[in-house]
Symmetry: C2
Subunit: 148 residues, 2 copies
C-alpha cells in the first residue's frame, strides 16, 4: 500500500508488531496525521485528514485506531478543562503536554522532575502513586506576541 514518509513510521511498525498488532495503512495514516499536526485536532479533524490519505476510512476505524495507539503509548490523550479529550502524538511515552489556549498548539515535553515531590506526597496521603498526568495551558510565543 501507499507510504507516509514519517520519521517514526518504522518505529511504529516495530511497536505494533511487538504487541501482535497489524500495521495497517489506517493506523499509520492516523499516526502520521497526529505527528504532522502541532494543534489540537478533533475526532472529525482526524477523520478528514486521514481521508486525505485514505479516502475510504470510516469513523469507527478512527475511534478504534486512537484507542489502540493510545493503549500502546504511541499517542496520548490530551484533556481540556471544558469539553473533553483529544489525542496528540507523544515523542516519549511519558510525555506531558503544553497547550496554547489561543491557537490550540500542542507541544510535548518529556521532562518530569516531580519524582521527589511525588514520593513525599505518597507518604503524606497514603496513596501509592502509580501514574500522573500533568498538562499546562498557556499562550505560545506567537500568540502572546500578537496584540491581545
Amino acid at each position: 500500500m501507499s507510504h507516509f514518509p514519517c520519521a517514526k513510521e518504522i518505529d511504529a511498525k516495530e511497536v505494533l508488531k511487538e504487541k501482535g498488532l497489524k500495521s495497517t495503512p489506517q493506523r499509520l495514516a492516523v499516526l502520521h496525521v497526529l505527528h504532522e499536526s502541532t494543534k489540537y485536532l478533533s475526532i472529525n479533524d482526524i477523520l478528514d485528514k486521514t481521508k486525505e490519505l485514505l479516502p475510504n476510512t470510516g469513523l469507527a476505524t478512527i475511534y478504534r485506531t486512537l484507542d489502540v495507539l493510545a493503549e500502546i503509548g504511541l499517542i496520548t490523550r490530551v484533556h481540556f478543562e471544558d469539553g473533553c479529550h483529544t489525542y496528540a502524538y507523544s515523542s516519549d511515552s511519558h510525555g506531558h503536554h503544553i497547550v496554547c489556549t489561543t491557537c490550540n498548539k500542542i507541544m510535548d515535553f518529556a521532562e518530569c522532575p516531580f519524582d521527589d515531590y511525588l514520593e513525599n506526597l505518597s507518604i503524606k496521603t497514603g496513596f501509592k502513586i502509580k501514574n500522573h498526568f500533568l498538562q499546562l495551558f498557556g499562550e505560545c510565543n506567537e500568540c502572546a506576541g500578537s496584540a491581545s
Copy 2:
C-alpha cells in the same frame, strides 16, 4: 426549602451571590452530593444522589449546575486516562487530585510546589504558562492493603 447541613453551604451561597447567581436548592444539593462523596461519581450517580434530596431534579439541571459550579471554582473537573471527565469537590480552587485506580476514591490536595519549575519551562518553551492541571493516579492505602 429544605436544608443540607453542609459546612460549606454558607460559603457556596456567598460565592454564588458574588457572581450574581441564585442559590437554588438544586445547586446546593449537587454541591452537597459532591462534597459528601470521596469517590468518582458519574453524571447518573450525581443525578441519583441529588434526587434523594430533591426528587424532581432533571438531568439537564445536573449538567447546567456542574457547569456553573465548575465555572465559579466550587468544583473541579477530574479527567481519567480513558473515558472522560467527572467532577469533584475542591476544597481549594487550585486543588489537584489523586485518584485511586482501584476504588475510585478521590482526594484533593492543594500543595503545588511547581512554580519554579514552571517558570523555567516557560522560558524554555516560549509558552506563557497560565494554568496547569496535575492529577495523580494510584492506590489508596486501603486498596493497597487488601491482597492484590
